[in-house]
């Protein structure tokens, strides 16, 4: 079912855009682009370029970013035993954003953007965790409030850095609001290895997350080294989040919407939630992007605006159930 959803979303994502490209022609052109397949698709050169060099990489990027954010959200929720955890709300995305901005304004090598983002994201999640525990123990809301505080602080630092470098302001500003605009495959290639590492680690951790759902003490009595497992899972989720933020900016609420929707339908087990979040996160963000680029066509809405529009009300619902 998850795979069908991804396939359907990808096809919609490829077919919808400001230029009308014939549907059958598009599908034939896609097949034609596969090795060993020769098809007469009847598309013009421009149409073919739009399809394969603009829409396709963008859809692929949306799918990867959506997967990462949804799976990271699910992992944070499990590891912190907190239904409100999400890369955006924990300040992880802001930390990654600050790291990436630092790399941009200091004109560091492009290859350093992701390591910078990762360092920023890890510091952010660490501080959020420590602050959240010190004020509220294990309370569900204190972790999220700490995340909001950490996120706002880091965003403030980021804004300060940007104001000092007005020449990069416009570029970075559109990126803060979250965007998937891309030409060619560079971003996809950048994100893919981090995505793969995180998927493998997090999918493999599903059973341990289930054991940890009975709490640290009982999990330890069941032979789980809780500290180490938590560290590995947080690092894996944060790694992918930081890489996603480096290419697409801050896109919020995907990590709340998708895992909770999966939970509603498929139950509590992280062995199901994580893989399903990977698939449905991809489908969700690709469709959200279709929406973002058509609703105000020919202009484009930043995709972060679309996800926040859907996600904020959803968050309120989750909050109500969590605090009941």
């Amino acid at each position: 079912m998850g795979f069908v959803a991804v396939a359907a979303a990808v096809i919609v994502g490829l077919l919808v855009g400001p230029i009308d490209i014939p549907i059958t022609g598009s599908l034939e052109a896609l097949l034609d682009s596969l090795p060993l397949v020769e098809l007469d698709h009847g598309l013009t050169e421009t149409e073919q370029r739009v399809l394969l060099d603009i829409r396709f990489p963008r859809v692929a990027l949306g799918a990867l970013v959506g997967s990462v954010l949804a799976m990271a959200g699910a992992a944070y929720q499990g590891v912190f035993r907190n239904p409100l955890a999400d890369p955006y709300l924990l300040g992880v995305a802001a930390g990654g954003g600050l790291g990436a901005t630092l790399a941009v304004v200091t004109e560091a090598d492009r290859a350093l953007v992701v390591p910078f983002a990762l360092a920023g994201a890890l510091i952010a999640v660490g501080v959020t965790y420590i602050v959240g525990r010190s004020v509220g123990g294990r309370s569900t809301t204190s972790l999220v409030l700490a995340g909001v505080a950490v996120g706002s602080f880091l965003t403030a630092v980021q804004t300060y850095l940007l104001q000092r470098r007005v020449d990069t302001l416009r570029e970075v500003y559109s990126w803060i609001l979250g965007r998937l605009a891309t030409v060619g495959w560079a971003e996809v290639r950048l994100l893919l290895p981090y995505f793969l590492v995180s998927v493998v680690v997090l999918v493999a951790s599903g059973r341990l997350l289930d054991v940890m759902s009975v709490g640290d003490e009982e999990a330890r009595s069941l032979g789980v080294d809780v500290g180490r497992v938590r560290l590995v899972i947080v690092v894996a989720a944060t790694l992918a989040t930081a890489a996603a933020v480096s290419v697409s900016g801050l896109i919020g609420f995907v990590g709340i919407i998708v895992p909770h929707a999966v939970r509603l339908v498929m139950g509590w087990s992280y062995r199901v939630i994580i893989p399903m979040a990977v698939l449905l996160g991809a489908a969700f963000l690709v469709l959200a992007d279709v929406f973002a680029r058509t609703i105000t066509s020919p202009a484009e809405l930043p995709i972060g605006v679309v996800t926040a529009f859907l996600g904020a009300p959803f968050f309120v619902i989750v909050l109500r159930t969590a605090l009941r």
């Binding site: 054991v211 009975v214 009982e218 032979g223």
Partner: protein, 250 residues
């Protein structure tokens, strides 16, 4: 067996337990009694590494590994609401599955026989959130049983149960102990109940062992009054000591 040698616990400089020396042999059942704050839970927690302690705790193969050597159940186990009974009992198999491993047929059989032993077959698919207090205790015991550890440490297994269900749980523990030759230590507040089931009682007071012996040796008015106050009365009939409040309806 499980043995505590010179075990002491202090939280920020304040001694809460010990030093305690205690040996519980294979197949033995010790009821750990004592007033609130006497250190009962802390003593159990030292055996699974949840209370940093001085001294040593030893199981059959040396220092007990939490999981394979010792099964521990806290006073209030957390019960993820949506989780099904069989899945919850499967958590008990966790110590036997590698970090990245999956359950084997052997694990599924262990879960099945734990469910059978506690008469839970009918409830296997029920979510934990829908169970009654008595059912929850049996499910939690099934998880500990599936763990197949030779030592079972239970913190207040009858707390919150009515007398009928409390007796039922104690009977189940006794049967499991005999069938599987388990070493069992239960912290328990109901001294009469403890005396009817545990062949040996250990009374903790102020973190130290104050009495250790058969129920009729430990449950004496003199001993209990020095720890529970003067208004405790012990009645003897053919069944063993019965501890009651020393007060008449005015």
């Amino acid at each position: 067996m499980i043995r505590w040698d010179d075990v002491a616990v202090a939280y920020s400089g304040v001694a809460v337990l010990g030093p305690v020396d205690l040996l519980v042999g294979d197949g033995e059942w010790v009821g750990l009694i004592g007033p609130n704050g006497a250190g009962k839970s802390t003593l159990l927690r030292t055996a699974v590494g949840l209370a940093p302690n001085t001294g040593t705790v030893t199981a059959r193969n040396g220092r007990p590994r939490p999981g394979p050597d010792v099964a521990w159940l806290p006073q209030r186990p957390s019960l993820p609401e949506g989780m099904g009974v069989a899945d919850y009992v499967m958590l008990g198999r966790s110590p036997h599955i590698g970090y990245l491993g999956r359950e084997s047929r052997h694990d599924r059989e262990a879960v099945k026989s734990a469910l059978t032993a506690l008469g839970l077959e009918q409830l296997a698919r029920r979510p934990l959130g829908t169970l009654s207090g008595g059912e929850v205790q049996r499910v939690v015991l099934a998880r500990a049983l599936a763990q197949q550890a030779p030592v079972l440490l239970l913190d207040e297994p009858t707390a919150g149960l009515d007398l009928g269900h409390a007796i039922e749980v104690m009977e189940v523990i006794d049967r499991l102990r005999v069938e599987n030759r388990l070493t069992v230590v239960t912290a328990i507040h109901d001294m009469t109940l403890a005396g009817r089931f545990c062949p040996r009682l250990v009374l903790l007071g102020g973190g130290l062992v104050r009495a250790d012996g058969t129920p009729s040796q430990v449950l004496t008015e003199t001993t209990l009054r020095s720890h529970y106050g003067e208004r405790v009365k012990v009645i003897h009939d053919g069944l063993g000591p019965t501890v009651v409040p020393d007060r008449r309806q005015p």
